[in-house]
């Protein structure tokens, strides 16, 4: 069935089709429609779940953690300040190996108050042990929620499904809603090996001395390393059932590209307009849209980028005192690879400033006219 819906509702549909059993959430612009629709779905029994209307995002994540350890499939959604308020609990979820799935709408962090998009909220949670999926269409949002549950539950690692504020969260697109029975086939009920129950009593998360803590973290990393292959595998499985492949990256005309624009989120589609224009004027350009950021898909990124002569990364985020975060990570992925490909790091669109085809033209002009970048950060559109 096809339906026109906003990105936020695509998250709700994803959670509903995945048969989330416990949802705990707190409203924040621009996430509110996610939970509004889910409360409706719970009320009219489209979804058989308990919806806990908590008094904060902190309690939302705590309740999700509590529900997940009992073996219930658990979902929440938040944005920016709400995500930051959850911060401690993100570690509790991943360290406790609980496959909570959360939608996060990328919104800029206050102050000053901003409800518009950039990625500093989710990227500030980079090292919490959550998987991060950056989406670029409402269809992808819906599909990714379902896939995220599957990957999360297989490896006991939580997932964040991320979309841009307004440019995706509030944008209406046609979305194909997968058949419920087929989703059930793809995503069987959650049956964790251990859970909180008097039938099999364990104390979870007890005081862990240096004798064992290290190994628990080693295990988390080892399981994280299994994610890329599992995403490709479950992505192909998804394609078989629903006709859409869900991979680690989405590459556009990269095969013979000499200059590759690396993007994430909705900016990816804008980049493609620029790529097409460049191709029209004889420049072999391509676009690599990073979908999965954690774990970082080193192998495919290396495989695709090492064919290029120049790489330009456009970041809608910044690590103050360093540079754009995707740029850092792409550089680290290319380190030691043959060819010593120059990576140009651009920062654009902080606080919801538009990233337009013209922004990409600027990116391309600079990249084409310089052998190496003159600076670690090349600013696009800032009034210097």
């Amino acid at each position: 069935m096809k339906k026109v819906m906003m990105g936020n509702h695509a998250l709700s549909y994803g959670a509903m089709l995945s048969r989330a059993q416990v949802i705990a959430a707190y409203p924040i612009t621009p996430q509110t429609q996610v939970v509004e629709l889910l409360s409706e779905m719970c009320a009219d029994k489209t979804l058989n779940a308990k919806f806990i209307k908590v008094e904060s995002e902190h309690s939302a994540m705590a309740a999700c953690i509590g529900a997940s350890i009992t073996g219930a499939r658990t979902f929440t959604a938040t944005s920016a300040q709400g995500l930051a308020l959850m911060h401690e609990l993100l570690h509790w979820a991943s360290g406790g190996r609980l496959p909570v799935v959360m939608g996060n709408i990328n919104r800029s962090m206050a102050p000053g108050w901003s409800i518009w998009t950039d990625q500093n909220d989710s990227l500030s949670e980079r090292d919490t042990g959550w998987m991060q999926f950056y989406c670029a269409s409402n269809q992808e949002v819906l599909d990714t929620v379902i896939q995220a549950f599957k990957v999360s539950e297989t490896l006991a690692i939580p997932s964040m499904v991320i979309l841009d504020a307004f440019t995706l969260s509030h944008t209406y697109e046609v979305v194909d809603i997968p058949d419920k029975a087929k989703v059930d086939e793809y995503l069987p009920p959650f049956k964790p090996p251990y859970r909180l129950t008097p039938d099999d009593p364990h104390a979870f998360n007890g005081l862990t001395s240096p004798e064992h803590y290290f190994e628990l973290r080693y295990k988390l990393q080892k399981d994280m390393e299994k994610v890329p292959a599992l995403i490709e595998e479950t992505g192909r499985e998804y394609e078989k059932l629903f006709g859409r492949y869900l991979g680690l990256v989405d590459d556009y005309l990269c095969d013979d590209a000499e200059i590759i624009l690396v993007t994430s989120g909705t900016a990816g589609y804008t980049a493609r307009v620029a790529v097409d224009e460049l191709r029209g004027s004889g420049v072999k350009a391509g676009n690599l849209r990073m979908k999965v950021f954690r774990p970082f898909p080193f192998e495919v990124v290396q495989r695709i980028l090492k064919r290029a002569k120049k790489v330009a990364v456009v970041d809608r985020n910044i690590s103050y005192g360093h540079h754009g975060i995707f740029a850092q990570e792409v550089k680290s992925a290319l380190y030691g690879q043959a060819g010593d490909i120059p990576v140009f790091g651009f920062i654009a669109g902080l606080g919801g400033r538009d990233i337009t085809p013209a922004s990409f033209r600027e990116v391309v002009d600079y990249t084409l006219s310089h052998d190496i970048p003159e600076d670690n950060i090349l600013w696009i559109g800032v009034k210097k």
């Binding site: 090996p193 364990h202 104390a203 064992h212 190994e215 295990k219």
Partner: protein, 99 residues
């Protein structure tokens, strides 16, 4: 819960042995807290009125009941002295622990 005598401290030798979740798989009975004691309770059973008060107030579940009489479990008794203090007929005395 394992039997007292086979209670052992669990130390994993490799990450593979560890369950995926950070969770307990054994009891604390390996931890013989009797070694914390400086003074030990001794019960003069001939004076005991079987009121059960020492059993009731022991914070360490270290007073058992055998043949309707209290028995101290010296493996775990921490020597807090509550039993002696609360015994209404003062038939429990705390004596210096011989180390």
């Amino acid at each position: 819960m394992p039997k007292k005598k086979d209670a052992k401290k669990i130390v994993f030798q490799s990450a593979d042995e560890m369950p995926m979740m950070p969770m307990s798989i054994g009891s604390m009975l390996y931890n013989k807290t009797g070694s914390w004691r400086n003074i030990r309770p001794e019960i003069r059973l001939e004076d005991c009125i079987q009121c059960g008060i020492c059993w009731k107030f022991c914070p360490d579940m270290s007073i058992g009941i055998e043949n309707e009489l209290p028995v101290v479990d010296y493996d775990y008794c921490k020597g807090c002295g509550i039993c002696a203090e609360e015994c209404p007929v003062k038939c429990i005395v705390m004596v210096e622990e011989r180390k």
